[in-house]
Protein backbone atom coordinates (compact mmCIF):
# COMPACT_ATOMS: atom_id res chain seq x y z
CA UNK A 1 0.00 0.00 0.00
CA UNK A 2 1.23 3.43 -1.00
CA UNK A 3 1.83 6.42 1.30
CA UNK A 4 -0.79 8.94 0.16
CA UNK A 5 0.04 11.81 2.50
CA UNK A 6 0.42 15.04 0.53
CA UNK A 7 0.20 18.74 1.35
CA UNK A 8 -3.07 20.65 1.21
CA UNK A 9 -1.69 22.82 -1.56
CA UNK A 10 -0.73 19.83 -3.68
CA UNK A 11 -4.01 18.06 -3.02
CA UNK A 12 -6.10 20.99 -4.24
CA UNK A 13 -3.77 21.59 -7.22
CA UNK A 14 -3.91 17.95 -8.26
CA UNK A 15 -7.50 16.95 -7.55
CA UNK A 16 -9.59 20.04 -8.30
CA UNK A 17 -10.18 22.05 -11.46
CA UNK A 18 -12.47 24.77 -12.75
CA UNK A 19 -15.84 23.49 -13.89
CA UNK A 20 -15.64 20.22 -12.00
CA UNK A 21 -18.39 18.48 -10.06
CA UNK A 22 -17.02 18.83 -6.56
CA UNK A 23 -18.54 17.23 -3.47
CA UNK A 24 -17.64 18.01 0.11
CA UNK A 25 -18.27 15.91 3.11
CA UNK A 26 -19.82 16.81 5.36
CA UNK A 27 -21.56 15.98 8.52
CA UNK A 28 -24.19 18.68 8.39
CA UNK A 29 -23.85 22.47 8.57
CA UNK A 30 -22.24 22.62 12.00
CA UNK A 31 -20.25 19.38 11.93
CA UNK A 32 -17.34 17.71 10.19
CA UNK A 33 -16.69 19.14 6.76
CA UNK A 34 -13.48 19.56 4.81
CA UNK A 35 -13.59 23.32 5.25
CA UNK A 36 -9.82 23.89 5.17
CA UNK A 37 -9.81 22.16 1.79
CA UNK A 38 -12.45 24.63 0.61
CA UNK A 39 -10.35 27.55 1.85
CA UNK A 40 -7.44 26.25 -0.21
CA UNK A 41 -9.72 26.02 -3.25
CA UNK A 42 -10.52 29.69 -2.78
CA UNK A 43 -6.79 30.46 -2.42
CA UNK A 44 -6.13 28.68 -5.71
CA UNK A 45 -9.00 30.54 -7.39
CA UNK A 46 -11.18 27.59 -8.38
CA UNK A 47 -14.37 28.66 -10.13
CA UNK A 48 -17.40 27.52 -12.11
CA UNK A 49 -17.96 24.64 -9.71
CA UNK A 50 -20.90 22.26 -9.78
CA UNK A 51 -21.24 21.64 -6.06
CA UNK A 52 -22.74 18.57 -4.45
CA UNK A 53 -23.62 19.56 -0.91
CA UNK A 54 -25.75 17.15 1.02
CA UNK A 55 -26.00 20.10 3.36
CA UNK A 56 -24.57 23.50 3.02
CA UNK A 57 -21.73 24.18 5.43
CA UNK A 58 -19.36 27.11 5.87
CA UNK A 59 -17.42 25.62 2.94
CA UNK A 60 -20.22 25.94 0.40
CA UNK A 61 -21.20 29.22 2.00
CA UNK A 62 -17.67 30.53 1.38
CA UNK A 63 -17.29 29.07 -2.11
CA UNK A 64 -20.64 30.55 -3.13
CA UNK A 65 -19.81 33.89 -1.49
CA UNK A 66 -16.63 34.29 -3.56
CA UNK A 67 -18.59 33.46 -6.72
CA UNK A 68 -16.98 30.08 -7.37
CA UNK A 69 -20.23 28.11 -7.59
CA UNK A 70 -22.09 27.85 -10.89
CA UNK A 71 -24.63 25.35 -9.58
CA UNK A 72 -25.36 23.59 -6.32
CA UNK A 73 -27.41 20.52 -5.45
CA UNK A 74 -28.41 20.71 -1.86
CA UNK A 75 -30.71 19.15 0.72
CA UNK A 76 -30.45 21.96 3.23
CA UNK A 77 -29.05 25.40 2.46
CA UNK A 78 -28.82 26.87 5.96
CA UNK A 79 -26.56 26.81 9.00
CA UNK A 80 -28.98 25.31 11.54
CA UNK A 81 -29.10 27.46 14.66
CA UNK A 82 -26.71 29.95 13.00
CA UNK A 83 -29.43 30.91 10.52
CA UNK A 84 -29.44 31.32 6.77
CA UNK A 85 -26.16 30.81 4.96
CA UNK A 86 -25.71 34.37 3.81
CA UNK A 87 -23.03 33.79 1.20
CA UNK A 88 -24.93 31.02 -0.50
CA UNK A 89 -28.19 32.92 -0.18
CA UNK A 90 -26.70 35.96 -1.86
CA UNK A 91 -25.29 33.83 -4.67
CA UNK A 92 -28.65 32.15 -5.28
CA UNK A 93 -30.78 35.27 -4.96
CA UNK A 94 -28.52 37.22 -7.33
CA UNK A 95 -28.76 34.44 -9.92
CA UNK A 96 -25.02 33.77 -9.76
CA UNK A 97 -25.63 30.25 -8.49
CA UNK A 98 -28.31 27.88 -9.72
CA UNK A 99 -29.75 25.86 -6.84
CA UNK A 100 -31.32 22.48 -7.47
CA UNK A 101 -33.18 21.51 -4.30
CA UNK A 102 -33.45 18.01 -2.89
CA UNK A 103 -33.68 16.90 0.73
CA UNK A 104 -31.26 15.54 3.31
CA UNK A 105 -32.32 11.98 2.62
CA UNK A 106 -32.45 12.09 -1.15
CA UNK A 107 -28.94 13.44 -1.74
CA UNK A 108 -27.24 10.51 0.05
CA UNK A 109 -29.58 8.02 -1.64
CA UNK A 110 -28.59 9.46 -5.01
CA UNK A 111 -24.93 9.17 -4.02
CA UNK A 112 -25.56 5.57 -3.01
CA UNK A 113 -27.16 5.02 -6.40
CA UNK A 114 -24.03 6.47 -8.01
CA UNK A 115 -21.84 4.21 -5.89
CA UNK A 116 -23.90 1.21 -6.99
CA UNK A 117 -23.80 2.33 -10.63
CA UNK A 118 -27.57 2.08 -10.76
CA UNK A 119 -29.54 3.63 -13.61
CA UNK A 120 -31.82 5.37 -11.09
CA UNK A 121 -32.94 5.23 -7.48
CA UNK A 122 -36.57 4.57 -6.52
CA UNK A 123 -38.00 7.77 -5.03
CA UNK A 124 -40.44 7.47 -2.18
CA UNK A 125 -39.41 10.78 -0.60
CA UNK A 126 -39.51 14.27 -2.17
CA UNK A 127 -42.40 13.11 -4.34
CA UNK A 128 -45.53 15.23 -4.39
CA UNK A 129 -43.48 18.18 -3.14
CA UNK A 130 -41.96 21.06 -5.03
CA UNK A 131 -38.59 19.32 -4.84
CA UNK A 132 -40.17 17.18 -7.52
CA UNK A 133 -41.99 19.88 -9.49
CA UNK A 134 -39.45 22.73 -9.35
CA UNK A 135 -36.25 22.24 -11.32
CA UNK A 136 -33.66 24.99 -11.42
CA UNK A 137 -32.09 23.25 -14.40
CA UNK A 138 -35.37 23.42 -16.32
CA UNK A 139 -37.14 26.42 -14.83
CA UNK A 140 -39.60 26.86 -17.69
CA UNK A 141 -41.26 23.55 -17.00
CA UNK A 142 -43.61 23.56 -14.00
CA UNK A 143 -44.41 20.94 -12.91
CA UNK A 144 -41.06 19.49 -14.00
CA UNK A 145 -41.49 16.10 -15.63
CA UNK A 146 -37.91 14.92 -15.66
CA UNK A 147 -36.40 15.84 -12.34
CA UNK A 148 -38.09 12.88 -10.64
CA UNK A 149 -39.84 11.11 -13.49
CA UNK A 150 -42.42 8.36 -13.30
CA UNK A 151 -41.43 4.71 -13.32
CA UNK A 152 -43.81 1.76 -13.24
CA UNK A 153 -43.37 -0.72 -10.41
CA UNK A 154 -43.14 -4.01 -12.31
CA UNK A 155 -44.52 -5.98 -9.37
CA UNK A 156 -47.75 -4.04 -8.88
CA UNK A 157 -48.07 -1.89 -12.01
CA UNK A 158 -48.35 1.18 -9.80
CA UNK A 159 -46.82 4.52 -10.75
CA UNK A 160 -43.69 5.29 -8.79
CA UNK A 161 -40.93 7.84 -9.16
CA UNK A 162 -37.18 7.87 -9.64
CA UNK A 163 -34.15 9.95 -8.72
CA UNK A 164 -31.11 10.28 -10.95
CA UNK A 165 -27.81 9.23 -9.39
CA UNK A 166 -24.78 11.37 -8.52
CA UNK A 167 -21.13 10.61 -9.34
CA UNK A 168 -19.00 13.58 -8.34
CA UNK A 169 -15.62 14.03 -10.01
CA UNK A 170 -14.02 14.28 -6.61
CA UNK A 171 -14.99 14.38 -2.96
CA UNK A 172 -12.98 16.06 -0.21
CA UNK A 173 -14.04 14.31 2.97
CA UNK A 174 -13.23 15.25 6.52
CA UNK A 175 -12.32 12.38 8.83
CA UNK A 176 -11.17 12.36 12.43
CA UNK A 177 -8.25 9.99 11.88
CA UNK A 178 -6.50 8.47 8.88
CA UNK A 179 -3.35 6.51 8.38
CA UNK A 180 -0.94 7.46 5.60
CA UNK A 181 -2.56 4.95 3.26
CA UNK A 182 -6.02 6.43 3.62
CA UNK A 183 -7.71 4.10 6.07
CA UNK A 184 -10.03 6.45 7.90
CA UNK A 185 -12.05 6.59 11.11
CA UNK A 186 -14.89 9.06 11.63
CA UNK A 187 -16.24 10.00 15.05
CA UNK A 188 -19.75 11.40 15.26
CA UNK A 189 -22.41 10.94 12.62
CA UNK A 190 -21.11 9.76 9.26
CA UNK A 191 -23.90 11.76 7.67
CA UNK A 192 -23.34 10.86 3.97
CA UNK A 193 -19.58 10.44 3.99
CA UNK A 194 -19.73 6.69 3.42
CA UNK A 195 -21.88 7.11 0.30
CA UNK A 196 -19.79 10.06 -0.88
CA UNK A 197 -16.55 8.10 -0.57
CA UNK A 198 -17.98 5.41 -2.87
CA UNK A 199 -19.80 7.62 -5.37
CA UNK A 200 -16.93 9.99 -6.13
CA UNK A 201 -14.41 9.19 -8.84
CA UNK A 202 -11.57 10.50 -6.66
CA UNK A 203 -11.42 10.81 -2.88
CA UNK A 204 -9.21 13.14 -0.85
CA UNK A 205 -9.30 12.91 2.94
CA UNK A 206 -8.72 15.83 5.25
CA UNK A 207 -7.81 14.43 8.68
CA UNK A 208 -7.57 15.96 12.14
CA UNK A 209 -5.04 13.31 13.10
CA UNK A 210 -2.71 10.97 11.28
CA UNK A 211 -2.50 7.66 13.15
CA UNK A 212 -0.30 4.64 12.90
CA UNK A 213 -1.82 1.72 10.99
CA UNK A 214 -1.79 -0.27 14.24
CA UNK A 215 -4.73 1.88 15.31
CA UNK A 216 -6.55 0.91 12.13
CA UNK A 217 -5.88 -2.80 12.73
CA UNK A 218 -7.16 -2.52 16.29
CA UNK A 219 -10.46 -0.97 15.13
CA UNK A 220 -11.16 -2.26 11.62
CA UNK A 221 -14.92 -2.02 12.15
CA UNK A 222 -14.51 1.74 12.58
CA UNK A 223 -12.75 2.04 9.24
CA UNK A 224 -15.73 2.84 7.07
CA UNK A 225 -13.49 4.45 4.43
CA UNK A 226 -10.68 2.00 3.55
CA UNK A 227 -7.42 2.91 1.83
CA UNK A 228 -8.48 0.99 -1.26
CA UNK A 229 -10.78 3.81 -2.38
CA UNK A 230 -8.73 6.81 -1.27
CA UNK A 231 -6.43 8.83 -3.54
CA UNK A 232 -4.80 11.27 -1.13
CA UNK A 233 -4.62 12.13 2.55
CA UNK A 234 -4.10 15.64 3.87
CA UNK A 235 -3.26 16.41 7.49
CA UNK A 236 -4.85 19.65 8.63
CA UNK A 237 -5.49 20.22 12.34
CA UNK A 238 -8.62 22.20 13.22
CA UNK A 239 -9.56 21.78 9.58
CA UNK A 240 -13.29 21.90 10.24
CA UNK A 241 -13.09 25.22 12.06
CA UNK A 242 -15.31 27.13 12.72
CA UNK A 243 -17.52 24.04 12.72
CA UNK A 244 -16.94 21.13 15.05
CA UNK A 245 -15.18 17.80 14.80
CA UNK A 246 -16.88 15.47 17.26
CA UNK A 247 -14.40 14.05 19.76
CA UNK A 248 -11.85 16.74 19.01
CA UNK A 249 -12.98 20.38 18.93
CA UNK A 250 -16.16 22.29 19.37
CA UNK A 251 -17.72 24.71 16.92
CA UNK A 252 -16.64 28.32 17.30
CA UNK A 253 -19.89 30.11 17.97
CA UNK A 254 -18.41 33.56 17.66
CA UNK A 255 -16.67 32.90 14.36
CA UNK A 256 -19.69 31.04 12.94
CA UNK A 257 -21.78 34.18 13.30
CA UNK A 258 -19.02 36.55 12.23
CA UNK A 259 -18.12 34.53 9.16
CA UNK A 260 -21.72 34.23 8.08
CA UNK A 261 -22.25 37.94 8.58
CA UNK A 262 -19.14 38.75 6.54
CA UNK A 263 -20.22 36.53 3.66
CA UNK A 264 -23.49 38.44 3.41
CA UNK A 265 -21.81 41.13 1.29
CA UNK A 266 -19.12 41.17 -1.36
CA UNK A 267 -17.06 43.57 0.70
CA UNK A 268 -17.39 41.48 3.81
CA UNK A 269 -16.40 38.43 1.83
CA UNK A 270 -13.27 40.12 0.49
CA UNK A 271 -12.30 41.13 3.96
CA UNK A 272 -12.98 37.65 5.29
CA UNK A 273 -10.89 36.02 2.58
CA UNK A 274 -8.02 38.36 3.28
CA UNK A 275 -8.15 37.73 6.99
CA UNK A 276 -8.94 34.02 7.14
CA UNK A 277 -8.18 32.44 3.79
CA UNK A 278 -5.12 34.00 2.18
CA UNK A 279 -3.51 35.03 5.46
CA UNK A 280 -1.64 31.79 6.19
CA UNK A 281 0.83 29.55 4.39
CA UNK A 282 1.45 26.75 6.83
CA UNK A 283 -0.57 24.72 9.32
CA UNK A 284 1.15 26.61 12.13
CA UNK A 285 0.14 29.96 10.66
CA UNK A 286 -3.40 28.69 10.20
CA UNK A 287 -3.59 27.83 13.89
CA UNK A 288 -2.23 31.29 14.70
CA UNK A 289 -5.01 32.84 12.65
CA UNK A 290 -7.54 31.01 14.82
CA UNK A 291 -5.58 31.94 17.93
CA UNK A 292 -4.04 29.74 20.56
CA UNK A 293 -6.53 30.55 23.30
CA UNK A 294 -9.42 29.84 20.99
CA UNK A 295 -7.90 26.56 19.87
CA UNK A 296 -7.41 25.47 23.47
CA UNK A 297 -10.91 26.47 24.41
CA UNK A 298 -12.49 24.62 21.49
CA UNK A 299 -10.47 21.51 22.25
CA UNK A 300 -11.84 21.44 25.77
CA UNK A 301 -15.38 20.17 25.26
CA UNK A 302 -17.67 17.37 26.41
CA UNK A 303 -16.85 14.98 23.53
CA UNK A 304 -13.07 14.81 23.84
CA UNK A 305 -13.28 11.51 25.73
CA UNK A 306 -14.37 9.91 22.45
CA UNK A 307 -10.78 10.25 21.21
CA UNK A 308 -9.23 8.53 24.23
CA UNK A 309 -8.99 5.00 22.80
CA UNK A 310 -6.94 6.24 19.84
CA UNK A 311 -4.56 8.84 21.29
CA UNK A 312 -1.56 6.57 21.67
CA UNK A 313 -1.37 6.03 17.92
CA UNK A 314 -1.40 9.71 16.86
CA UNK A 315 1.68 10.72 14.86
CA UNK A 316 3.48 13.91 15.82
CA UNK A 317 3.69 16.89 13.51
CA UNK A 318 7.35 16.15 12.95
CA UNK A 319 6.68 12.55 11.98
CA UNK A 320 4.00 13.73 9.58
CA UNK A 321 6.26 16.31 7.93
CA UNK A 322 8.76 13.54 7.41
CA UNK A 323 6.17 11.43 5.60
CA UNK A 324 4.48 14.15 3.56
CA UNK A 325 5.26 14.25 -0.11
CA UNK A 326 7.24 11.02 -0.17
Amino acid sequence: MRNKLITMKDAVAKYTWDGMTYAHGAALPVGSDSIAFGREMVRQGRKDLNLISNCNSQQSNLLAAVGAVRRIEVGFAGLEVYGFAQGLRRAITSGKTICEDFSNGSIPLRLLGGALNWPFVPATINVGSDEQWCSADNPDEYPAKNKMPEVTDPFTGKTCYAFNVIKPDMAAIHVTMADIYGNAIMLGTEWSRYELSRAAKKVVLQADFIVDTDCIRQFPNLVRIPAEIVDAVVYWPMGVWPQCSVGVYDSDEEHMFAMNKALRTEEGTEEYVEKYVTSYQTREEYLDVIGKDKVDKLNDNPTTFLMDPYRKWILSDDEIKELEGR
Binding site: T93, D101, I125, N126, E190, W191, E195
Partner: protein, 263 residues
Protein backbone atom coordinates in the same frame (compact mmCIF):
# COMPACT_ATOMS: atom_id res chain seq x y z
CA UNK B 1 -47.40 32.02 35.93
CA UNK B 2 -44.54 33.66 34.11
CA UNK B 3 -43.63 32.04 30.82
CA UNK B 4 -43.06 33.08 27.22
CA UNK B 5 -45.28 32.14 24.27
CA UNK B 6 -42.37 30.12 22.86
CA UNK B 7 -42.18 28.18 26.11
CA UNK B 8 -45.91 27.48 26.06
CA UNK B 9 -45.69 26.30 22.46
CA UNK B 10 -42.80 23.97 23.34
CA UNK B 11 -44.65 22.51 26.33
CA UNK B 12 -47.87 21.97 24.39
CA UNK B 13 -45.88 20.28 21.62
CA UNK B 14 -44.12 18.10 24.17
CA UNK B 15 -47.50 16.99 25.53
CA UNK B 16 -48.19 15.39 22.14
CA UNK B 17 -45.34 12.88 22.57
CA UNK B 18 -46.00 9.61 24.36
CA UNK B 19 -43.80 7.34 26.39
CA UNK B 20 -42.15 4.52 24.44
CA UNK B 21 -42.52 6.17 21.05
CA UNK B 22 -39.75 6.42 18.48
CA UNK B 23 -39.30 10.10 17.71
CA UNK B 24 -37.13 12.24 15.48
CA UNK B 25 -36.29 15.78 16.51
CA UNK B 26 -34.92 18.59 14.39
CA UNK B 27 -32.71 21.35 15.67
CA UNK B 28 -33.81 24.23 17.88
CA UNK B 29 -37.36 24.53 19.12
CA UNK B 30 -38.42 21.05 18.08
CA UNK B 31 -35.54 19.46 19.94
CA UNK B 32 -36.38 21.40 23.08
CA UNK B 33 -40.00 20.30 22.89
CA UNK B 34 -38.91 16.71 22.43
CA UNK B 35 -36.37 16.58 25.22
CA UNK B 36 -38.84 18.37 27.46
CA UNK B 37 -41.30 15.51 26.87
CA UNK B 38 -38.62 12.96 27.67
CA UNK B 39 -37.82 14.73 30.90
CA UNK B 40 -41.38 15.54 31.88
CA UNK B 41 -43.61 12.55 31.16
CA UNK B 42 -42.05 10.23 28.58
CA UNK B 43 -38.79 8.86 29.99
CA UNK B 44 -38.78 5.98 27.47
CA UNK B 45 -39.35 8.21 24.46
CA UNK B 46 -36.68 6.99 22.05
CA UNK B 47 -35.17 9.92 20.24
CA UNK B 48 -32.77 10.29 17.37
CA UNK B 49 -31.80 13.06 14.98
CA UNK B 50 -31.58 13.04 11.23
CA UNK B 51 -27.83 12.65 11.55
CA UNK B 52 -28.37 9.23 13.08
CA UNK B 53 -27.44 10.38 16.57
CA UNK B 54 -29.24 8.00 18.90
CA UNK B 55 -29.94 7.91 22.60
CA UNK B 56 -28.39 11.21 23.57
CA UNK B 57 -29.56 14.14 25.65
CA UNK B 58 -28.06 17.59 25.08
CA UNK B 59 -25.16 18.66 27.25
CA UNK B 60 -24.23 22.27 27.99
CA UNK B 61 -27.06 24.06 26.25
CA UNK B 62 -29.21 24.05 23.14
CA UNK B 63 -27.36 22.19 20.38
CA UNK B 64 -26.21 24.36 17.49
CA UNK B 65 -27.05 21.56 15.12
CA UNK B 66 -28.28 18.00 15.15
CA UNK B 67 -24.71 16.70 14.87
CA UNK B 68 -22.83 19.05 17.14
CA UNK B 69 -20.83 18.22 20.23
CA UNK B 70 -23.65 19.15 22.60
CA UNK B 71 -25.82 16.37 21.19
CA UNK B 72 -22.93 13.96 20.52
CA UNK B 73 -21.41 13.81 23.98
CA UNK B 74 -23.50 10.97 25.33
CA UNK B 75 -24.89 9.30 22.23
CA UNK B 76 -25.26 5.52 22.17
CA UNK B 77 -25.02 5.23 18.40
CA UNK B 78 -23.86 7.34 15.48
CA UNK B 79 -25.07 6.15 12.12
CA UNK B 80 -25.85 8.30 9.10
CA UNK B 81 -28.40 10.22 7.09
CA UNK B 82 -29.75 7.33 5.04
CA UNK B 83 -30.20 5.26 8.18
CA UNK B 84 -32.05 7.98 10.07
CA UNK B 85 -33.99 9.73 7.33
CA UNK B 86 -34.66 7.00 4.79
CA UNK B 87 -34.52 3.69 6.67
CA UNK B 88 -36.16 4.78 9.92
CA UNK B 89 -38.25 7.80 8.90
CA UNK B 90 -39.03 7.75 5.18
CA UNK B 91 -39.93 4.06 5.43
CA UNK B 92 -42.84 4.70 7.78
CA UNK B 93 -41.25 3.23 10.89
CA UNK B 94 -40.89 6.30 13.09
CA UNK B 95 -43.85 7.16 15.34
CA UNK B 96 -43.59 10.89 15.54
CA UNK B 97 -41.62 13.87 14.30
CA UNK B 98 -41.61 17.60 14.91
CA UNK B 99 -40.87 20.13 12.20
CA UNK B 100 -40.90 23.91 11.92
CA UNK B 101 -42.38 26.08 9.19
CA UNK B 102 -41.53 29.42 7.64
CA UNK B 103 -44.88 29.29 5.88
CA UNK B 104 -47.71 26.77 6.09
CA UNK B 105 -51.18 26.39 4.67
CA UNK B 106 -54.61 25.09 5.58
CA UNK B 107 -53.75 21.55 4.46
CA UNK B 108 -50.61 21.45 6.60
CA UNK B 109 -48.15 21.85 3.75
CA UNK B 110 -44.91 23.44 4.88
CA UNK B 111 -42.66 25.82 3.00
CA UNK B 112 -39.09 26.31 4.17
CA UNK B 113 -37.59 26.94 0.72
CA UNK B 114 -38.53 30.40 -0.50
CA UNK B 115 -41.02 33.26 -0.46
CA UNK B 116 -41.89 34.80 -3.80
CA UNK B 117 -42.53 38.47 -4.35
CA UNK B 118 -45.07 37.82 -7.09
CA UNK B 119 -46.52 34.58 -8.39
CA UNK B 120 -44.95 31.48 -6.85
CA UNK B 121 -44.05 28.60 -9.22
CA UNK B 122 -47.41 26.79 -8.94
CA UNK B 123 -49.17 29.97 -10.03
CA UNK B 124 -46.63 31.25 -12.55
CA UNK B 125 -46.18 27.88 -14.23
CA UNK B 126 -42.43 28.37 -14.07
CA UNK B 127 -39.74 28.27 -11.44
CA UNK B 128 -38.29 31.73 -10.88
CA UNK B 129 -35.98 32.69 -8.05
CA UNK B 130 -37.73 33.55 -4.80
CA UNK B 131 -37.50 37.03 -3.35
CA UNK B 132 -36.44 35.49 -0.11
CA UNK B 133 -34.46 32.30 -0.31
CA UNK B 134 -34.87 30.04 2.72
CA UNK B 135 -33.09 26.84 3.80
CA UNK B 136 -34.85 24.14 1.81
CA UNK B 137 -36.49 21.06 3.22
CA UNK B 138 -33.53 19.49 5.03
CA UNK B 139 -34.83 16.33 6.65
CA UNK B 140 -38.37 17.68 7.13
CA UNK B 141 -39.50 16.23 3.81
CA UNK B 142 -38.70 12.70 5.01
CA UNK B 143 -40.49 13.37 8.31
CA UNK B 144 -43.55 14.67 6.46
CA UNK B 145 -43.58 11.69 4.10
CA UNK B 146 -42.76 8.95 6.57
CA UNK B 147 -43.56 9.61 10.23
CA UNK B 148 -46.73 7.94 11.44
CA UNK B 149 -47.73 11.42 12.55
CA UNK B 150 -45.92 14.68 12.96
CA UNK B 151 -46.37 18.02 14.55
CA UNK B 152 -45.74 21.37 12.91
CA UNK B 153 -44.59 24.19 15.18
CA UNK B 154 -44.82 27.80 14.03
CA UNK B 155 -45.12 31.30 15.41
CA UNK B 156 -48.69 32.34 14.66
CA UNK B 157 -48.48 35.21 12.19
CA UNK B 158 -50.76 35.95 9.25
CA UNK B 159 -47.89 36.04 6.73
CA UNK B 160 -46.84 32.53 7.77
CA UNK B 161 -50.34 31.01 7.70
CA UNK B 162 -51.25 31.08 4.01
CA UNK B 163 -54.22 29.81 2.02
CA UNK B 164 -51.65 27.95 -0.09
CA UNK B 165 -47.89 27.87 0.42
CA UNK B 166 -45.58 29.29 -2.26
CA UNK B 167 -43.59 26.05 -2.36
CA UNK B 168 -44.29 22.69 -0.76
CA UNK B 169 -41.00 21.73 0.87
CA UNK B 170 -42.64 19.12 3.09
CA UNK B 171 -46.04 17.76 2.14
CA UNK B 172 -48.96 17.86 4.52
CA UNK B 173 -52.25 16.82 2.94
CA UNK B 174 -51.31 18.61 -0.34
CA UNK B 175 -54.71 19.59 -1.79
CA UNK B 176 -56.62 17.91 1.03
CA UNK B 177 -58.74 14.79 1.23
CA UNK B 178 -56.87 11.63 0.34
CA UNK B 179 -54.23 13.42 -1.74
CA UNK B 180 -51.38 11.76 0.16
CA UNK B 181 -52.48 8.36 -1.14
CA UNK B 182 -51.61 9.41 -4.69
CA UNK B 183 -47.96 9.28 -3.72
CA UNK B 184 -48.15 6.24 -1.48
CA UNK B 185 -46.75 8.07 1.53
CA UNK B 186 -46.31 5.61 4.41
CA UNK B 187 -46.81 8.32 7.03
CA UNK B 188 -50.15 9.58 8.23
CA UNK B 189 -49.52 13.30 7.80
CA UNK B 190 -49.50 16.19 10.25
CA UNK B 191 -51.57 15.49 13.37
CA UNK B 192 -51.37 19.00 14.75
CA UNK B 193 -50.16 22.50 14.04
CA UNK B 194 -49.05 23.98 17.33
CA UNK B 195 -48.53 27.71 17.33
CA UNK B 196 -47.90 30.52 19.75
CA UNK B 197 -51.68 30.95 19.94
CA UNK B 198 -53.25 27.52 19.89
CA UNK B 199 -53.64 24.01 18.52
CA UNK B 200 -55.04 23.18 15.08
CA UNK B 201 -56.09 19.72 13.95
CA UNK B 202 -56.96 18.36 10.52
CA UNK B 203 -60.58 17.64 9.66
CA UNK B 204 -60.81 13.85 9.34
CA UNK B 205 -62.31 14.07 5.84
CA UNK B 206 -61.23 17.31 4.16
CA UNK B 207 -57.92 17.49 6.08
CA UNK B 208 -58.35 21.24 6.41
CA UNK B 209 -56.90 22.44 9.70
CA UNK B 210 -59.35 23.94 12.19
CA UNK B 211 -58.85 25.51 15.59
CA UNK B 212 -59.19 22.87 18.28
CA UNK B 213 -58.09 24.95 21.24
CA UNK B 214 -56.37 28.22 22.04
CA UNK B 215 -54.05 29.53 24.67
CA UNK B 216 -55.42 31.35 27.72
CA UNK B 217 -53.78 34.64 26.76
CA UNK B 218 -55.50 34.94 23.36
CA UNK B 219 -58.99 34.87 21.85
CA UNK B 220 -60.59 33.02 18.96
CA UNK B 221 -60.83 36.30 17.08
CA UNK B 222 -57.16 37.03 17.52
CA UNK B 223 -56.27 33.56 16.24
CA UNK B 224 -58.52 34.02 13.19
CA UNK B 225 -57.05 37.45 12.48
CA UNK B 226 -53.58 35.98 12.48
CA UNK B 227 -54.47 33.15 10.10
CA UNK B 228 -54.28 33.65 6.35
CA UNK B 229 -57.22 31.39 5.53
CA UNK B 230 -60.79 31.40 6.77
CA UNK B 231 -60.06 29.35 9.87
CA UNK B 232 -62.83 27.07 11.03
CA UNK B 233 -63.30 26.68 14.74
CA UNK B 234 -64.29 23.47 16.50
CA UNK B 235 -67.77 23.63 18.06
CA UNK B 236 -66.07 22.18 21.14
CA UNK B 237 -63.19 24.65 21.08
CA UNK B 238 -61.37 24.70 24.40
CA UNK B 239 -58.75 26.70 26.20
CA UNK B 240 -55.43 24.90 26.48
CA UNK B 241 -54.44 24.27 30.12
CA UNK B 242 -51.63 26.52 31.28
CA UNK B 243 -48.16 25.06 31.80
CA UNK B 244 -47.82 23.61 35.27
CA UNK B 245 -44.96 24.62 37.53
CA UNK B 246 -43.53 21.14 37.03
CA UNK B 247 -43.69 21.44 33.26
CA UNK B 248 -42.00 24.83 33.29
CA UNK B 249 -39.30 23.54 35.60
CA UNK B 250 -38.62 20.57 33.34
CA UNK B 251 -38.60 22.67 30.18
CA UNK B 252 -36.14 25.13 31.69
CA UNK B 253 -33.86 22.32 32.76
CA UNK B 254 -33.70 21.32 29.11
CA UNK B 255 -33.47 24.87 27.82
CA UNK B 256 -30.48 25.69 30.00
CA UNK B 257 -29.39 28.61 27.88
CA UNK B 258 -32.85 30.15 28.03
CA UNK B 259 -33.30 30.40 24.30
CA UNK B 260 -37.07 30.19 24.66
CA UNK B 261 -37.24 32.75 27.43
CA UNK B 262 -36.31 35.65 25.19
CA UNK B 263 -39.57 37.51 24.69
Amino acid sequence: MDYTRQEFMAIVTGRELKDGELAIFGVGLSMLAGYFAQKNHAPDLMAFTEGGVFGSTPVGGLPWGIECNRISANATSFTNAIDALCVLVGSGRCDVGIIGAAQLDKYGNVNTTGIWAEDPPWKAGRYTMPKSRLNGSGGANEIAVGCKRYIIMATHEKRRFAEKVDYISSPGYINGGNDREKYGFPGGGPSAIITTLGIMRPDPVTKEFYLESYFPYTTIDEVKENTGWDLKVSPDVKVVPEPTAEELKNLREVDVTGSLRKK
